[in-house]
Amino acid sequence: MKVIPIILGMALVTYLPRLLPAIFLDQFHFPAWFEKWLKSIPYAALGALIFPGVMLVKEDQPLIGLFGGGVAFILSLLNLHITLVMAGSILAVYLLQTFL
């Protein structure tokens, strides 16, 4: 099958970036500023993962994704469990699509 080599190549180039820090991180002891950078990564990453991607949930209708994201935002402010935040945003977008 001609796709097998493609899949193997994809696997390799996907695993390498994931693996490199596992191999090399040990050999470094980071200065304080670098530790702060590392600790900031989750917040920066989640920000960039959320926006503008959330507008592409339905590609031609950015408002649908924004609406779902808005519902998730409000539910998170209520300190609900993460599963409920997910379920609430899913339900909201499903209902919006069904009744619009």
Binding site: V3, I4, I6, I7, G9, M10, A11, V13, T14, P17, R18, L19, L20, P21, A22, I23, L25, D26, A32, W33, K36, W37, K39, S40, I41, P42, Y43, A44, A45, L46, G47, A48, L49, I50, P52, V54, V57, K58, I64, G68, G69, A72, F73, L75, S76, L77, N79, L80, I82, T83, V85, M86, A87, G88, S89, I90, L91, V93, Y94, Q97
Partner: protein, 231 residues
């Protein structure tokens, strides 16, 4: 459930991801079929690549007649962000053996990274164990792989409205993880907002995959100046 073993807690933490992945993987399996991948090839891809967005892109590139080099290069750039996420995760698990680190790093995705670094268990050092992380990772992985297999076999036809709605669910996961800490700290909220803005500008300027990498590196750099030592 307070005294359950850590791997069970890992499974519990991974379940929302698995449930979020499953319907999207079903859609991926079905789409892969349209690009002449049989169910075993689609499943193989999910088994050894395990990176959703790039898998969808590769299938649409196959449909468009792209060559191997083009698809593999695009995959590399799309998944470069995992390098930064893996840095953050591996910095938390320095005490693990090299074998565990290499094994667990395979499963770093946007979602598992988000849950490991910002989930409600992430602040508990006694849960930072190989068994907890394996439980979480394998649960998420099985959601993705089993969904792909069933979708490839044509078992799970899911209407587009439901797939769209389920995609929002993963954004709900990110938002639900980000909002609580961002609420407590203006600095953290600012880092996230700047990152959103940078990414929004950069996606219009640079190639797919790079925007998010640059946005994360720069916005996290803000933390160097904003965060106090003990954060």
């Amino acid at each position: 459930m307070k005294n359950s073993p850590t791997w069970i807690k890992g499974i519990q933490s991974g379940l929302p991801i698995a449930l979020g992945y499953f319907p999207i993987a079903l859609a991926f399996g079905a789409l892969a079929g349209q690009a002449q991948l049989n169910w075993s090839e689609a499943t193989l891809m999910s088994l050894i690549v395990f990176a959703g967005a790039s898998q969808f892109v590769s299938v649409s590139m196959l449909l468009a007649g792209a060559g191997a080099a083009q698809i593999i290069t695009t995959t590399l750039f799309l998944n470069l962000r995992h390098l930064i996420m893996s840095l953050a995760v591996n910095n938390q698990i320095r005490k693990f053996s090299p074998g565990w680190k290499a094994f667990l790093s395979f499963f770093i995705t946007d979602e598992t990274f988000a849950l490991l670094t910002l989930g409600k268990d992430s602040g508990q050092p006694d849960l930072r164990t190989p068994s907890y992380m394996t439980g979480l990772m394998i649960t998420a992985y099985l959601g993705w792989v089993s969904g792909t297999m069933l979708g490839g076999l044509g078992a799970g036809f899911i209407p587009l409205e439901i797939t769209t709605a389920m995609t929002v669910g993963l954004y709900g996961l990110f938002i639900g993880l980000l909002v609580p800490p961002a609420r407590k700290s203006l600095c953290l909220a600012l880092i996230a907002l700047v990152s959103m803005l940078l990414n929004w500008i950069l996606v219009q300027l640079v190639k797919q995959g790079w925007a998010i990498v640059i946005a994360i590196i720069l916005a996290a750099g803000l933390g160097v100046f904003l965060l106090k030592e003990e954060v």
